[in-house]
Amino acid sequence: MNFVRNIVTIALGLFVLAIPYIIDSTYFLHIIIFSLMYTMLSTSLNLTLGLSGYLNLGHVAFFGIGAYVSGLLTLRAGWAWSAALLAGILTAGAAGYAIGRLTLQLRGAYFVIVTLAFSEVLKLVSTNWVELTRGPMGLPGIPAPQIGTFALESSRAQYYLALLLAAAAVYVAARLIPSRLGRALVGLRENEELAQSLGVNVYNHLLFAFVTGSLMAGAAGAFYAHYVRFLSPEVFSFGYTVTTVIMVLAGGRGTVVGPVLGAFVFVFIPELLRATTTLRLIIYAIILVIITVFLPEGIWPYLRDRSQTLLLKLMKSTRKGRAADFASGRRS
């Protein structure tokens, strides 16, 4: 069984690495790159929303901070891409720490609104601080990622970069979710008083998850800046947060795979619906509502449970078959 699993894992890994060589169309590759970027965002939001149930409606703030810091440092200050990327990630993390310190003492809905207010204020600042950000006109001409003299301009190079960042985020989440901290956060969602009485330091745990999430979101933003190579206050729009929330909840909150699956599903659905032109987002919303009504826990938990029962059934039936063979006196 282990052997089979290893083979499958390696095959899957090779397939993922080979994707840019299998797929010819840059458009299709672009959608996959966007799915990977959203994977970073949904995985990061999952750490707070999925585990502890704390809904951070200002998550896009960290995405925007990562994007603007990295973009502006390369464009205006002439920083190297790698340094700017790191600065973007760390600034988002620092902002996460500051905002987390201030807001995580607030409960439930209050936390929601203060985080939301922070991101809206940042959006207004980026719109109105015209000398720095050129406001709504945006910042064109942000350089592509560059390592030494080698520019990662092609879609293929960008794909590997996105894959690396997304894989790092998913790896951190996969380590964090089953850990003591992850379980403590779930306990927090189920019953905060009980968790506290069992010695869970609510505030520290939440802050850790929150800062980790903001680092990942900052990475997604910094990637976005050098991929799209144009920045406007739109990177702070509420729509990003809503899309990410959809991905986490409909994908399967609190799981490792759920948000990843959610990211791909909800990037691909609108693209597949392009033919329906104006009705596109209406159909998208109808699909979302149907998924939520019928699979309230999310797509991934449903698939996982379904495949498990299927597997069990399969094993049972083969065992039964063998038992029948044995009873009828046949030897194999």
Partner: protein, 290 residues
């Protein structure tokens, strides 16, 4: 001094519609434990229905407003019965996701059906202004304030003095006990959602003659409603009223004395400061978590 008074009056009048929005949201959250993400879209639909029935069907303005509110209430009732009812016992995030879906659906339906360019309603009243002690108020704004005050008064009467209102308040305090006392919880939930969205439609249709009407107008409105509700303290109708007035005032004074570009930021900054100093809102009680 008169400019100051003028700003205050303008702020309070806009604030009164914010209060309407806030009460709608706080009712739904307090009674149903549902975060109504589609609140802004019901507000937008209210504005559009009022706009069309006034401009194209030639209905008198009060009739147009009533029609808008009634139509939105029917739609809200349908949404509740068909989509929210099946997930009543689920985690708070599940109905929220459904409402996000409804909001995207309604917004894009409006773009397809009405077009995305902003519309202005021809003035339903003569453009006269009323002078009150050196402060000028245009007639549409006065009517707006009248509608808000009237609706709020009617709602507080219903909540305080009727059986339906008592059932709603009982459910608010403790749904299980209320059910044991013979309150039909499901009907209360349906009614609450209907009334909550109706309030949003009332605000939208009342604002239609003053502001632009366009499909995405609900986005900022819903953000502001959240802000108001939290500002006043979740689960407090009085808090939502004061929260709305305060936000209107802060925006109006912020636009007048600080900067018009940062008008919306002023509101949000006030919210951040208030919540950091009083995490349970201005009128919320300590210990009641959202």
């Amino acid at each position: 001094m008169t400019t100051f008074a003028q700003q205050v009056v303008n702020g309070l009048i806009i604030g009164s519609t914010y209060s309407l929005m806030g009460i709608g949201l706080t009712l739904v959250f307090g009674i149903m434990r549902v975060v109504n993400f589609a609140h802004g879209e019901f507000y937008m639909l209210g504005a559009f229905i009022a706009y069309f029935s006034f401009t194209f069907m030639g209905l008198p303005f009060p009739v147009a407003v009533t029609l808008a509110v009634a139509a939105v209430m029917v739609l809200a009732w349908l949404c509740d019965q068909c989509l929210l009812r099946p997930v009543r016992d689920k985690d708070i995030l599940v109905p929220m996701l459904i409402l996000i879906g409804i909001s995207i659906m309604l917004q894009n339906f409006a773009i397809v059906a009405f077009g995305s360019e902003p519309k202005t309603m021809p003035a339903p009243f003569p453009p006269t202004t009323v002078e009150l002690g050196g402060v000028f108020i245009s007639l549409p704004r006065l009517v707006l304030a009248g509608i808000s005050v009237g609706v709020i008064a009617a709602l507080s009467y219903v909540l305080k003095a009727t059986n339906v209102g008592r059932a709603m308040r009982a459910t608010w305090q403790d749904a299980e006990t209320a059910a044991l006392m013979g309150v039909n919880i499901n009907r209360v939930y349906g009614l609450t959602f209907t009334v909550g969205c109706g309030l949003a439609a009332a605000a939208g249709s009342a604002l239609a003659p003053i502001f632009w009407v366009y499909p995405t107008m609900g986005e900022l409105a819903v953000l502001k409603s959240f802000a108001i509700v939290i500002l006043g303290g979740l689960g407090s109708v009085a808090g939502a009223i004061y929260g709305g007035l305060l936000l209107g005032l802060a925006e109006s004074l912020g636009a007048g004395y600080i900067s018009a570009e940062y008008k919306d930021a002023v509101g949000f900054l006030v919210i951040i400061i208030v919540l950091l100093l009083r995490p349970y809102g201005l009128f919320g009680r300590r210990g009641i978590y959202g």
